[in-house]
Assembly symmetry: C3
Homo-oligomer: 101 residues x 3
């Protein structure tokens, strides 16, 4: 009943919200969750923009979709924006409904 | 000092808050954390109810308790509500205090 | 492009916010995220203080830095405060920038 999937976690400036949600779904995510967070990344080249309100976007997908999402995320946003992304291996209840059809 | 435990993450409509907290503790969780989130699950049969405010309930428990929680969660809520649940393996500092007595 | 790192998650009373952020960076974290959460830990000796608003501090670091953070956290706060901390193994995009220089 549990299916191994990959949790994609993305932290970004709030202004990127719609772009990231669209990107995630374009690659096959069937849902997402957004949490308001505060972040600070002192070593980042855009450090001056990186205080205060940010968003965390999370989605549960196959490893294949996860790789496609972060590959695309990297190309589109990593040059010009403060974006952090990581993958966590999880076991999802009724996980089959999260797989790309 | 670190003990391997299972993090149970549950995303649900806010209306289920008290029911889920009660369910989690009934099965042996000794604590929980609630975060306000926004969610959207486009492929879900209850998709129309699944925008806007939701809650994420998280708890750290043994694998055995985690399985009991999601088994019970599945029986009680998955037919009629938009509920997502997943398990992550973590290492908890002073983890013994999270184990069911 | 993905680098295996350790996600440190710390839940604490809001009053500890600045202390924990300082501690995390002192040991080599290059950034952190803070989320407002509600928590309850019924089995905790400080249970009476542990309802209502808390913070979750998250950071991505090497295993070595993660161990230093939780070791120090344990010494400084676990006697007198309600603090929970756990480690999750993750794979981070552009992870090298999270490593201590």
């Amino acid at each position: 009943m549990k299916i191994p999937l990959t949790q994609v976690s993305i932290i970004a400036e709030g202004v990127l919200r719609d772009h990231i949600v669209e990107l995630v779904h374009k690659h096959g995510a069937t849902g997402h969750t957004i949490t308001q967070v505060e972040g600070e990344g002192s070593s980042h080249r855009h450090a001056s923009d990186w205080g205060g309100r940010n968003i965390k976007v999370e989605t549960l997908v196959s490893q294949e979709v996860a790789d496609a999402i972060i590959e695309n995320l990297s190309h589109e946003f990593f040059e010009d924006y403060s974006v952090i992304a990581w993958l966590t291996q999880v076991n999802v209840l009724r996980g089959s409904k999260f797989l790309k059809r």
